[in-house]
């Protein structure tokens, strides 16, 4: 089963290396991300949390993007810089090496 991995860089920090499996999705509480090298992960999006309101519409707060989604798409290594803080002022960039492994082998039928 693929995993959703939630990381808050300002609270938890960012590991220097993150070992993932193809299909995993990583969610960072961050304002931006830069893919520095590799193609084993893809940036799904730089997003802002929103909710479904009582009237059924999707409501978005006023603020800067606060969510970065990455998907482990292929075996290999990628380096990304995760950015948090104020996009218009002081921000912090943290580099992480994403090492993506292939999907677990399917169990053999007996």
């Amino acid at each position: 089963m693929s995993r959703l991995i939630d990381i808050d860089p300002d609270h938890d920090g960012v590991p220097a290396e993150l070992v993932l499996t193809v299909g995993d999705v990583v969610r960072f509480n961050a304002t931006g991300v830069l893919l520095r090298s590799g193609s084993s992960v893809e940036v799904v999006g730089i997003l802002i949390d929103s909710v479904v309101g009582a009237d059924g519409s999707v409501l978005t707060p006023l603020g800067v993007p606060n969510t970065v989604l990455l998907k482990a798409s292929a075996p290999g290594e990628s380096r990304v810089d995760v950015v948090s803080g104020d996009p218009f002022g002081p921000s912090t960039s943290r580099s992480v090496l994403c090492r993506v492994q292939g999907p677990p082998a399917a169990p053999r039928a007996s």
């Binding site: 802002i48 909710v51 009237d55 603020g63």
Partner: protein, 345 residues
């Protein structure tokens, strides 16, 4: 910073018209007192004052019935007059407002989905916290929300239950939903986020951040999205800057920085780069290389406009614009055949 008197006068006229609608459709103001118990005699308890925590000038309470009065048109002409005014200047467009009932007329109903205005009656919004929050921090945050209340008729009050304003200090940065949208947010969700705020934060951050987010709750959008300020930004510089620093696409930069607010959806003063609702923008992205300083606290223009939009005192319902007022201002009347022609409408 500049206060544009003409814009304020236009806003004041529009608010007067909207006030009449709300007074017809909402709960009546208690005789002699506001909904939150504030004085209705045209003065605040301390009159003109300085905000004790910030030194921000607090405008005196306005009594809209005092002095010069705006003479209202007969009801049959108000819709056409609004159309004419809007055509002359989009700023005159009816203020968008959310209202559940169907009492509003067709032109206003067309804009309901984007309306965020709380209406002109004094209000108290209840406030709760989603996480366990020390009492001194709760008090401090609410005191900064109420920095707006020195100038306007909306106050914030703590509740032990589920507040209309629900504050989280969890991850996700600083944000708030806009105006009356907070009524639509599920009760288990925050309407405002103040990531990581503690008593250790400097007072300047409480002023800059909490008061900014409170402004959104009052319905004020980002000032740096006003057309005049957006036009100071060089798109190519902005694309390069945010790609390099954040990894943002051009589309995201367009949305976040380069798309001005629709002038027809807002009503306000001249764009104010010192407003508390204005972000600080770096000189790296402006055409002239000078930064847009942004606001560090509620300034006089913010206070004055908040007091205009949300007056601390209002006429009582029997003084609505559609009826003779107790102070002697009556709706002028003439026969329908004498109505002026509105060219092009």
């Amino acid at each position: 910073m500049s206060t544009n008197d003409e814009s304020c006068v236009r806003a004041f006229r529009e608010i007067g018209r909207i006030t009449a609608r709300f007074l017809d459709g909402e709960a009546a103001v208690a005789p002699g007192g506001g909904l939150d118990g504030t004085s209705m005699d045209g003065t605040s308890t301390d009159g003109t004052s300085m905000d004790g925590t910030s030194g921000v000038f607090s405008a005196p309470a306005r009594d809209v019935s005092a002095g010069c009065r705006i003479m209202p048109l007969p009801a049959r002409l108000q819709e056409r007059a609004a159309e004419v005014a809007t055509r002359i200047n989009p700023v005159n467009a009816p203020l968008h407002q959310f209202q559940d009932d169907a009492a509003v007329d067709a032109p206003l109903r067309l804009t309901l989905t984007t309306a965020k205005y709380w209406g002109p009656l004094p209000k108290s919004l209840s406030v709760s916290f989603l996480e366990r929050t020390p009492a001194d921090l709760r008090t401090r945050i609410i005191s900064h929300l109420n920095a707006w209340s020195h100038a306007c008729g909306i106050t914030f009050a703590a509740t032990s239950g589920t507040g209309e304003v629900r504050i989280s200090r969890g991850p996700g940065g600083y944000w708030s939903y806009l105006g009356t949208d907070i009524r639509l947010i599920p009760a288990n969700r925050p309407t405002m986020n103040l990531q990581g705020f503690t008593m250790n934060h400097p007072e300047s951050e409480f002023r800059r951040v909490v008061r900014h987010e409170a402004g959104h709750t009052l319905g004020f959008p980002h000032e740096h999205m006003r057309k005049a300020l957006v036009e100071r930004i060089d798109p190519q510089k902005a694309y390069a800057y945010f790609l390099q620093t954040q990894g943002w696409s051009q589309q995201m930069v367009d949305q976040q920085v380069l798309t001005p607010l629709d002038s027809r959806s807002i009503i306000g003063t001249e764009p104010d780069q010192d407003s508390i609702m204005c972000y600080q923008l770096p000189g790296d992205i402006t055409r002239d290389g000078r930064p847009i300083p942004g606001g560090m606290d509620i300034n006089q223009t913010d206070s004055a406009f908040a007091g205009l939009i949300y007056p601390r005192t209002l006429r009582s319902p029997d003084e609505s614009l559609d009826a003779p007022s107790s102070s002697g201002t009556a709706v002028p009347e003439w026969s329908e055949s004498e109505d002026p022609a509105f060219a092009g409408v």
